[in-house]
Symmetry: C2
């Protein structure tokens, strides 16, 4: 398939299309027009067509899209036709929550190991996998060809752990630590900065209050 | 302060400015030029100036920005000069992780209660606050004027819980359930769809591999 450089904004919207199409597929819907998809997802039909045109358009618009085909194609674009191995660094509440989250496996993300520096946690099973000490991290990544490291550790530790993971061959970091990581261009980073998300919510609460009090 | 309608993209970047300015402030930095801030944050100086111009520009660029002033101003814009009460619905691993996360309190987000439908979890303390049964949810929100509900429950439950929270007076929902919520315009929603974020990472891994194999 011929592809131009796709913006991260478009990429960011693909999982949501994938989610909605998966639900439609589960409900037995075979075809859907961009108009109907637009109403369901609360985005404009023109946005949908623009997004899909980045990938060749996915079939005739007059007939609507073939749900199952579109679901599979977007899944392939997202790399979900392959499996990805991941480890979790940090076996606190959040690390354990992510380790126990079964849906990742359904999408082909395979939970291979979990690490913590706290001796009290080492050996404790998370979904059947015992927590390993941090000393074993680099060797484990190398030996098992781990692709993704999930960082659920404080920001002070995250930078140095990332620096160890890169030479060990990690391909991607899913970063929950509240710090931006500097890694080489070949290592993909996706940040989940929870505080940032909460602050955005706080902004929108304040803004709404302000607008409402101005209206009075 | 005179404000035009600010795009959610700009709002989304404010917490990151706030974070970097907080770190500069902690390090005793008093002034910083947009150029230096640009290099530190890996965004263009023009982007920074454009973003800040949405809020009046925050002072003379020739001298650079006053770090402490800028930090406080952005904090105020984000509504962090006020406290916000929140409850967590869903006392599983993720709910407990968020309840135990001390940084939220530092930013003025006060953890007031946690709810679960599982009788085995009811009464269990999370940061000193016992898990309450779901039957008490609406009354608790009303009685305590709770502003924010954090949903860490499966998607099937999230929609009906949101429908109960709205008439109880909730102002905002921080939604970790893998579903989009339809709520009235006055209720703010911020989604953290973890699977979506992981899929974006997966896309970027695949894309990088593809580009690299094409180069050979």
């Amino acid at each position: 398939m011929e592809e131009k450089e796709i913006s991260q904004a478009v990429i960011g919207r693909l999982p949501r299309y994938f989610r909605y199409l998966g639900e439609l597929k589960d409900e037995g819907v075979e075809r859907i027009s961009s108009q109907d998809l637009s109403e369901l997802m609360h985005v404009t039909a023109s946005q949908i067509r623009q997004d899909f045109n980045n990938f060749g358009g996915f079939g005739q618009q007059g007939y609507g899209y073939n749900v199952s085909f579109l679901y599979d194609e977007i899944g392939k674009i997202l790399g979900l036709d392959q499996t990805h191995s991941f480890i979790i660094v940090g076996a606190g509440n959040l690390g354990q929550a992510l380790g126990n989250y079964m849906n990742f496996e359904r999408r082909g993300f395979l939970f291979k190991g979990i690490f913590d520096q706290n001796p009290a946690l080492v050996g404790k099973p998370v979904r059947g996998i015992p927590v390993r000490p941090m000393e074993e991290l680099e060797q484990f990544v190398k030996d098992n060809g781990i692709e993704i490291a999930v960082l659920t550790i404080p920001k002070a530790a995250a930078v140095s752990v990332a620096e160890k993971l890169v030479p060990a061959g990690i391909q991607a970091i899913w970063n929950f630590a509240h710090v931006d990581l500097n890694v080489p261009a070949g290592v993909q980073v996706e940040n989940v900065h929870l505080s940032d998300s909460l602050m955005k919510l706080s902004y929108n609460i304040s803004r709404y209050r302000q607008e409402n009090s101005e209206d009075k």
